[in-house]
Assembly symmetry: C2
Homo-oligomer: 452 residues x 2
């Protein structure tokens, strides 16, 4: 192991020390996984300590936690604690332009739900659990400024004092998100395949506060969608009775963010396209004018590691667009899978990271593709009769055929690896088409026989 040469003070070659760059969701969970296995962990996070309450306005505040994420949390004993803060969403509530609503359950099983949780609450649970471990040290307000891959060191600047500190671990885990500094350094190595691509759509968050009595202004146990072909709005419930609405619109063009400038523009547009939501959004105009438009990027790379010294998890390895509600679930699944491989092959970390990168990379690509495809589905088709019939057919087949599981169900309510779920769904679709053909043929024969 190259480590032993570079870092003379390594206390125990069988138990290298870990430095995690990024104390968001994937980094926070993986710190807990490592700590439970007895590894020494130091965690560096750019943002302030969530315990201080200084939560900066950040990225999307709602997440849809489903089976994969819950399974990973359960392995470190945190699932129940997290689900206390969650609101189950059992299906999509589709809002037509005229204000009619249709509810589409996510699964034949009424118990199956995706869980709306706030990023901040989830992060707090993970950080507090890590803080309670004696072998984890936490560093906040530390921004990664440089990663020395050859020396396996990350350097950080303190956001307030400006002081520089270096990581001291033997292994660096890059859990620093879609714009990862660790991956940025890896990108300059040869060979490292990398791509980033942006959608022509951005997103803007708006608020729907609770009713006067504190209750939700719409059905709370649903993910609300206003699909309008080339643009859409969605809303997820929060435990405080509010909803967070998110507009996914093009940046420019006739339905683009840039077109709405004045109060009259904004009111007029929402009255025309999202009429039934407007009465519940008293701060619509202020929200719209104040809140930024975020970008939607897909990042792919390979490999996800360097030797047995550096590895990427979560968005740093595979940033995806949010339309399958799988970003955090994919990141947590990385942690669970990597943890499992470590238990099998540690302390041979070269083998651990090679196996992890090879196993997970195809599934990262699969969920990236699915997320983009689901954007088109939610935006263009969710409101159409054909889509509703397709979903109904899927539910019928699911109920009738024990072998048949809809793709959405496999992705959301099982731990079947993403690419395997896609392959199985394709097999199912072919089988259903063949069966339908055979049934038609038999019917034709019967009709022909009867008509003789």
């Amino acid at each position: 192991m190259r480590l032993r040469v570079i870092i003379p003070a390594m206390p125990d070659p069988n138990h290298p020390r870990f430095s995690i760059v990024g104390g968001g969701l994937a980094g926070g969970l993986f710190a807990n996984c490592l700590a439970r296995e007895g590894y020494e962990v130091e965690l560096f996070e750019r943002r302030p300590d969530p315990a201080t309450g200084r939560v900066p306005a950040g990225r999307s505040i709602n997440l849809a936690l489903s089976m994969r994420g819950i399974t990973a949390l359960r392995e470190v004993g945190l699932a129940d604690e997290v689900l206390k803060h969650a609101i189950p969403m059992r299906g999509r509530m589709i809002h037509s332009p005229t204000g009619q609503t249709v509810f589409q359950p996510y699964s034949k099983n009424p118990e199956d739900a995706i869980n709306s949780v706030s990023r901040a609450a989830l992060n707090r649970v993970l950080i507090e659990a890590a803080r309670a471990r004696p072998n984890v040290s936490l560093h906040f307000d530390t921004r990664c400024v440089d990663v020395d891959l050859a020396e396996t060191k990350a350097r950080f600047a303190h956001e307030e004092t400006g002081e520089y500190i270096s990581s001291t671990g033997d292994i660096v885990i890059g859990a620093d998100g879609a714009f990862s500094a660790v991956r940025g350094a890896m990108q300059r190595t040869d060979p490292f395949d990398y791509s980033q691509s942006y959608l022509a759509h951005g997103y803007k968050e708006l608020t729907m506060p609770p009713r006067a009595d504190g209750s939700h202004a719409m059905e709370p146990e649903a993910l609300h969608i206003w699909p309008r072909r080339s643009y859409m709005m969605i809303a997820l419930p929060n435990p405080d009775g509010s909803f967070t609405c998110t507009c996914f619109w093009p940046f420019d063009g006739p339905h683009g963010f840039s077109r709405l400038k004045t109060e009259a523009d904004i009111r007029g547009y929402f009255d025309q396209h999202f009429a039934d939501a407007v009465p519940h959004m008293p701060t619509l105009v202020e929200d719209y004018q104040r809140n930024p438009v975020g970008s939607l990027v897909t990042v792919r790379c390979a490999p996800w590691h360097i030797d047995g010294r550096i590895a990427l998890i979560g968005d740093a390895a595979h940033a995806i667009v949010p339309f399958y509600g799988q970003g955090i679930n994919a990141g947590f699944e990385d942690c669970r899978v990597l943890d499992g491989i470590m238990r099998e092959h540690a302390p041979d970390f070269r083998r651990v990271f090679e196996a992890y990168s090879q196993e997970r990379k195809p599934h990262g690509d699969a969920i990236a593709d699915l997320a983009i495809a689901n954007f088109l589905e939610m935006r263009d088709k969710a409101g159409t009769m054909r889509f509703r019939n397709k979903k109904r057919l899927e539910r019928t087949l699911d109920a009738l055929l024990p072998q048949y599981t809809p793709l959405y169900t496999m992705v959301t309510f099982t731990n079947i690896p993403y690419a395997d779920a896609v392959a199985r769904s394709e097999r199912q679709d072919r089988a259903v088409a063949i069966c339908a053909g055979l049934v038609l043929l038999v019917l034709l024969v019967v009709v022909a026989l009867l008509a003789r």
Copy 2:
């Protein structure tokens, strides 16, 4: 124009000053294009001044200059000077494992040739022509360390003194190659689509010196290929009587670079697979052991500019693998096209760069795809009977049908934009298939009539 706000000392708003990052081939040519139009130009290059003769061992030393490159050179009056240093190659010479050779002309026109020129000679011509212009200032040994996109400034460190200098122009042109620092800064802007992907093959250069009498050891007016399915070697002639041989092999595996370590390994392998070349390569083992294995990367990005202030040309915008011999031709064509758009729309440089990026990007993608496809063709098929028959059919159609031009001819011997050439080739292939079907049908009818 945003420039006027940022740079108060701009002497003439209709004639902004240009800073070119990178004085290689694309940067060298574009400096000449700009200088001829009367713009002030400063050119920064990491390597030493070629006039000093300190030419560092660098990248591939041969290039295949063809129509597009020559057209661009002709527009600045440098084509004849460059072609003095070139050796025309009129076709491929295919070497079989048993040492048999077959010559395949590139075109029905025996005058059509691609031109083997050395990178150093070509660069020298461009730099000396730029130096002779009063409005060009040249800076060598200056490595770009930082690009401030907001301020339209590139910063450089002098390779020997370590001193820092900044560009002073109003517009920055990134001509700094596949690992462009200018593009690296653009990559961190939003939205900027970017991808880099490496082949599993690398390359290593070897030398075939002249015969004792100074003549070439093989036919000089040909590009020599030893196609061996999963790996290959090629050789290009140099004016001094030598050939530069390049092995394109996988990094690892049974035919990989990493497998050959000892002198016996190397000799044994070459004797087995490239037997007819070995007698002409007296320094084979030293070359093999000394020379590095280079990587083959494809880079794509979009857009190729920021406002009217920053633009990318050549490999910085579209690094491609070398298998269509088009890298330098594509880069020179960028210069010619951008120059043409400037003459039309300057000083509205926002419009200039937008038009340039939109027009050229599809052609950059097209040649990147073609180069990868040609790698497979040269490596896997060039030695097969089927490939030879296909090439023969193409030449026959080319000779018989005035409408028909083979894709290779359009790419190499015309200035038809790459993507247009691909589209036309696809139309031709469909038309040929339909005609062949009709001819077959007519023949069948004739045979049927005769057989009555």
